[in-house]
């Protein structure tokens, strides 16, 4: 142990075995990132703090299932936080379908890190550059979904385009983003 920090994945493993200290360590590592993300999505600092609390309770509950997934712990924690924050938004918006209580845990949503460096080496500048490189309509659709928690139907209504257009904008945008991030990653 001599001064060597445990990896996130090791900490999740320990959490799965009921180690509260390891959960505290994960909290210390990800508190600022998760609060920043939750605040951006919900637009409300108090609600965002509740989302962070829910996120780490989720980590505590689901840690035992984490090893079945193939994502990094970082990806997994971000996905849990995102999922909870979007849940809050959709409960607030009467136009949105209520979240399905039977939804599988996010570990199945984001099950793998195709290029692990995405979670480590990439900096915000590179991601911003990649996002800015997209056609504006694709970027808008992705941002409305990820940061706005909007559904395909809501994005279509908001941007006044057919559902199929939203589908292809999101897909083409994410594919281009993947390719751009991958090429940054190789440099």
């Amino acid at each position: 142990m001599a001064g060597v920090a445990a990896t996130d994945e090791t900490l999740v493993e320990r959490v799965a075995n009921g180690d509260q200290g390891s959960l505290a360590e994960l909290y210390d590592r990800y508190q600022s990132l998760t609060l920043g993300l939750a605040a951006r999505i919900t637009g409300d600092r108090t609600v965002a703090e509740d989302v962070v609390q829910e996120t780490f309770i989720g980590v505590w509950r689901a840690a035992g299932r984490f090893s079945e997934g193939r994502a990094s712990a970082r990806t997994w924690i971000i996905a849990i936080c995102h999922h909870r924050a979007v849940d809050v938004l959709r409960r607030r918006r009467p136009s949105s379908p209520l979240p399905d209580p039977e939804l599988p845990p996010p570990v199945q949503l984001v099950s793998v890190d195709v290029w692990p460096a995405v979670s480590r080496a990439l900096d915000a500048e590179a991601v911003r550059g990649a996002l800015n490189g997209l056609p504006a309509a694709q970027r808008e659709a992705i941002e409305l979904a990820y940061f706005g928690g909007l559904t395909q139907q809501e994005i279509a209504a908001r941007t006044d385009v057919p559902l199929g257009t939203v589908k292809s904008r999101v897909r083409l945008g994410l594919v281009a983003l993947r390719d751009a991030l991958r090429s940054v990653d190789r440099q």
Partner: protein, 81 residues
């Protein structure tokens, strides 16, 4: 609206982006999931597009929570044991 839509392989791939963003209505989402569970083909698209998402979270300005939140989280964990 009430019948469950059915989704074939090509459609599932088309919907991968909306699926990983959790932007599908529950019925369509369930149909994609059903396809993923039943289809023997690989669905690398879902993994690859999904792995873009944590990069988006890097765009957000981190916010340091108050110390009280840490205490609240740990108290909630202890309660659950």
């Amino acid at each position: 609206m009430s019948q469950l839509p059915s989704v074939d392989h090509a459609e599932a791939i088309e919907l991968a982006g909306l699926y990983v963003l959790d932007a599908l209505l529950p019925s369509l989402r369930a149909a994609v999931q059903e396809h993923l569970g039943a289809c023997p083909d690989a669905h690398l698209e879902f993994d690859e597009l999904g792995s873009v998402l944590p990069a988006l979270a890097l765009l957000v300005e981190p916010i340091q929570p108050p110390a009280a939140l840490r205490a609240r989280v740990m108290a909630a964990i202890k309660e659950r044991g």
